[in-house]
């Protein structure tokens, strides 16, 4: 393994870390991970909006 291999792996690990962070944050906010629908119509979205306003 060369330094380039480690660099590429580090970039991918960082990307994966950001992806997992995004998913966890989205889940914490009550939004769906695999919903490609309109968030504005979603109960979770509305509940989050209510919580964040309070």
């Amino acid at each position: 393994m060369s330094w380039l291999d480690y660099t590429v792996l580090a970039v991918l690990a960082l990307w994966l870390g950001f992806s997992i962070r995004w998913m966890l944050r989205r889940k914490k906010e009550g939004k769906c991970l695999s919903c490609s629908g309109d968030c504005a119509q979603c109960k979770y979205y509305a509940e989050h909006a209510c919580r964040s306003q309070k």
């Binding site: 393994m1 291999d5 590429v8 950001f18 995004w22 998913m23 991970l33 695999s34 909006a49 209510c50």
Partner: protein
Amino acid sequence: MILALIGNQNCGKTTLFNQLSGSKQHVGNFPGVTVEQKIGEVRGQKNCQVVDLPGIYSLRPYSEEELVTRDFLLNQQPDGIINIIDATNIERNLYLTLQLMAMEIPMVLALNMMDEVHANGGTIDTELLSQQLGIPVLPISAIKNDGVSELTRMAVETAQKHRTPTVYDFCPAGPVHRCIHSVRHIIEDHAQSSRLPTRFAATKFIEGDPIVKDLLDLHRNDLDAIEHTIVQMEHDCGLDRNAAIADMRYNFIENVCRVCVVKCRESREHIRSVRLDKILTGKYTAIPVFLLIMLSIFYLTFNVIGSFLSDLLEMGIDGLAMGVDRVLTAYGLNPVVHSLIIDGVFAGVGSVLSFLPIIVTLFFFLSILEDTGYMARIAFVMDRPLRRIGLSGRSIVPLLVGFGCTVPAILSTRTLSSRRDRRLTILLTPFMSCSAKIPIYAFFTAAFFPKYKVLVMMSLYVLGIVIGILCALILNGTAFRGKPSPFVMELPNYRFPSLKSVLQLMWEKAKDFLQRAFTVIFAATIIIWFLQTFDARINLVTDSAQSLLAAFGSLIAPILAPLGFGDWRISTALLSGFIAKESVVSTLEILMGGAGLSGLFTLRSAISFLVFTLLYTPCVAAISAVRREMDSGLRAAGVAIAQTGVAWIAAFAVYLLLGAFL
């Protein structure tokens, strides 16, 4: 300070909410778009929030929307109400206004669409109307942002000074008047201890509102006395209790409008809409026209615009992958890392990404249909067929939303008033093919039916609907016996679609898809690549059939073998689809390792696979939505298993049937 935004369906509430708060909530041109309350900060006002509540026609607790709004007013006790009404239809809209006034909460009345009233020769004397109703009345045009700042100022001032409506007695001397005042007298103490406005509680009690009855918790003697008073009123009026109260309200509205309103003539938009509706909602023309429109949309999306853009993007992604491949080879990157990037990330994320134009194009057309007002006509046209299969006409809203995504579709079943209708609709919604499955269909049709893409796509959507109908008929005759509740809706005038709202919806779809591709699909891709590259001892495998993934996939593969696709790679792809449907494509792409679909499927098994993916369990988000709405994890699991069972049977039947021809 909290201001509640309340009005009838389709009167422009969400448009006004967006103007007040500067947010970009989706504005639907058909009823039932807002199911839950949404909160936004009022622009230019400190510590002032506005809550967008679902559209309702009365405060009777019939539907979930009415319950949400009523609960909010009674339990959250907002500082003020902005009651928005459609000024072109003032008499009907004021019916809700009178009920809100009885809540004794400071309120202002926003006469929306006043520009249309004036354009069609009508006028409303707002000052006189304000005197007659005892609340501030302001003319606005929410869509043009006219009068909105004045409305905000007035609503805040009214709430701050706690100016409750000064008129609350709508009944002239007579039997209804006597009845309301007698009931009010009897329940006064109970209403105050339950923190209910007395006039509101009295009228609701007379109307037989079960929630108010429970809250008041009256003694037997009081109940008998009230019943006697109501029966006396019914006898004197010659009307039943509900009709008598409604009649009292409408008489008051009629008298107010007689002095304040000069009715507008029929608008050009309405005349045009009536003409168009003769064809678009005609008894014999509606369904053929609808099918023709949908066929055109599918043709343009999958054969012309969407597929062209998709091919371009795919070429770009392939070019980039080749470039990266060359660079990585030139720098002598480790073969495993090289494979992770090219066979994992590029094959997985890239394959899903190339379908972005198709999804955006499809939603471009669908948002035009919605914005013009045609979607509402579809709901109207489908009412009768839906009733025949035991569904309420209202079920069409969740079913239509289901073509976008099953999660909001299941949530929007809350607009259905009966538990039976709600549950039946929840069970049928996953049969409507969601947009996340489009990449799977596009992937397979491009490989197996390049000349008949549109026909196959359309057939899949139709098949989903047909299976849904069959299930509805079976359930209606067995577990869900009963009559669907009636459906009342208002058809908006046809209008030219707003470029802003169409572009907004397209952008939301694209953003959402990209976010998911670079996060969820990326993570799934890495996991799938890892599992197919290593075995249980984390040793690199030369043949992926010895990998960890093959071990998992082989457990399920025998169940799918009778359907023509018993390969472990396919069962793994289907499993990954439970997280997100697009993952089916990315997983197959990784596992095929550059070989085409024809290495895994025959034409017969490809069709069987498409039928299975169309019908099998919705994704985890949709199942959790089912669990929430049905309030049972067991039922949600039942839905997932039943759905997969139906998919298995349908795919098996198709596979057997095709055996005779292919």
